[in-house]
């Protein structure tokens, strides 16, 4: 059995990757609507969204990253993963509201593995300045200069 700490990638088939992508797609595509409903949702409905849409997608997203890095995704799956990662990043503010994802979660996507890392296209990351101030020390430690 794979554990959260150790992945044996040979146990995953292309069909598994497809099902992981399908749940990731549900999480990303439903995010704007879930965020719109969020203020009027009660605790149960919020927890349901966190369980059903986020919970079934986020741990498999980590596995998808490992499969991508190991070259075990098809070209079509890679393209789909890139598109969904890009869409999630665009909706980071909603993802933060509903699922607590933040700029560190975006970094996590790149650590796990994402085809977006090969792209030179500009992406826009919605981020609140308060969050930037929280990660500034870490960025500075990586060698970024203060102006």
């Amino acid at each position: 059995m794979n554990t959260p700490d150790k992945l044996e990638l040979s146990t995953y088939t292309s069909h598994h990757a497809g099902s992981f992508l399908r749940n990731y797609e549900l999480m990303v595509k439903s995010l704007p609507e879930v965020a719109e409903w969020w203020p009027e949702m009660d605790d149960f409905e919020r927890q349901h969204a966190r369980t059903a849409y986020f919970g079934e997608a986020w741990a498999p997203r980590r596995v998808l990253g490992a499969l991508y890095r190991a070259g075990q995704l098809t070209a079509e799956q890679e393209a789909e993963l890139a598109a969904l990662d890009g869409e999630l990043i665009q909706h980071l503010d909603e993802a933060n509201l509903c699922y607590g994802l933040d700029i560190q979660s975006v970094a996590q996507l790149f650590t796990w593995g994402t085809p977006l890392a090969q792209s030179d296209e500009i992406i826009h990351i919605p981020i609140r300045p308060r969050a930037l101030s929280e990660i500034a020390p870490a960025l500075a430690a990586l060698g970024m200069r203060e102006t």
């Binding site: 059995m1 794979n2 554990t3 959260p4 150790k6 992945l7 146990t11 995953y12 069909h15 598994h16 099902s19 992981f20 399908r22 749940n23 549900l26 595509k29 439903s30 609507e33 879930v34 409903w37 149960f44 409905e45 919020r46 927890q47 349901h48 969204a49 966190r50 369980t51 059903a52 849409y53 986020f54 919970g55 079934e56 986020w58 741990a59 498999p60 980590r62 596995v63 699922y99 607590g100």
Partner: protein
């Protein structure tokens, strides 16, 4: 101490459950109903199911949403599975002698998660295990689905995670 209080105490203390406590928890979770609170399924999911000829109302009991998703979106349960059969399948997993049992907080809610070898093998989306979640706050089963293992179940939002078996 009632079993839901025991689950919360185990999470807060981080200690291992005794064999007797574990038996109480499994028996308690196996008696729990599937969540029936009404929820709004996202339009995107409803449209996906509509493409398959399945109508999902704007508000549905949470358990029914799970079942429809398991049958038509995930293809993990056979078409025609009734809610009673789905719950019976989850309870079979809960009572499985080889089921792994965890307690944890998920976004602050006390939960029990059980992962057992799956007995549903005839569907296109079948996976090796069935994962079932019990909420000690709502005293219901909040989800159940087939999974490849704990690595595709637990994420960094599962806090104070303790495996008891």
């Amino acid at each position: 101490m009632d079993v839901d209080a025991l689950i919360t105490e185990l999470i807060e203390s981080g200690r291992q459950a005794t064999e007797d406590e574990l038996s109480q928890i499994v028996a308690h979770v196996a008696r729990a109903p599937l969540a029936s609170h009404l929820i709004r399924p996202p339009g995107w999911l409803r449209e996906e199911l509509a493409r398959l000829g399945v109508t999902m109302p704007a508000r549905v009991p949470a358990g029914e949403t799970h079942l429809l998703k398991r049958i038509y979106y995930d293809q993990q349960w056979p078409i025609g599975t009734a809610i009673d059969q789905f719950v019976a399948d989850l309870r079979l997993a809960i009572r499985h002698r080889d089921a792994s049992v965890w307690t944890y907080e998920y976004f602050g809610e006390p939960c029990v998660g059980l992962l057992a070898p799956s007995h549903i093998r005839v569907t296109p989306g079948a996976k090796p295990y069935i994962f079932v979640v019990y909420s000690a706050r709502y005293e219901t089963l909040t989800t159940g689905y087939q999974a490849t293992g704990p690595e595709t179940v637990f994420n960094d939002k599962h806090q104070r995670l303790t495996q008891h078996r």
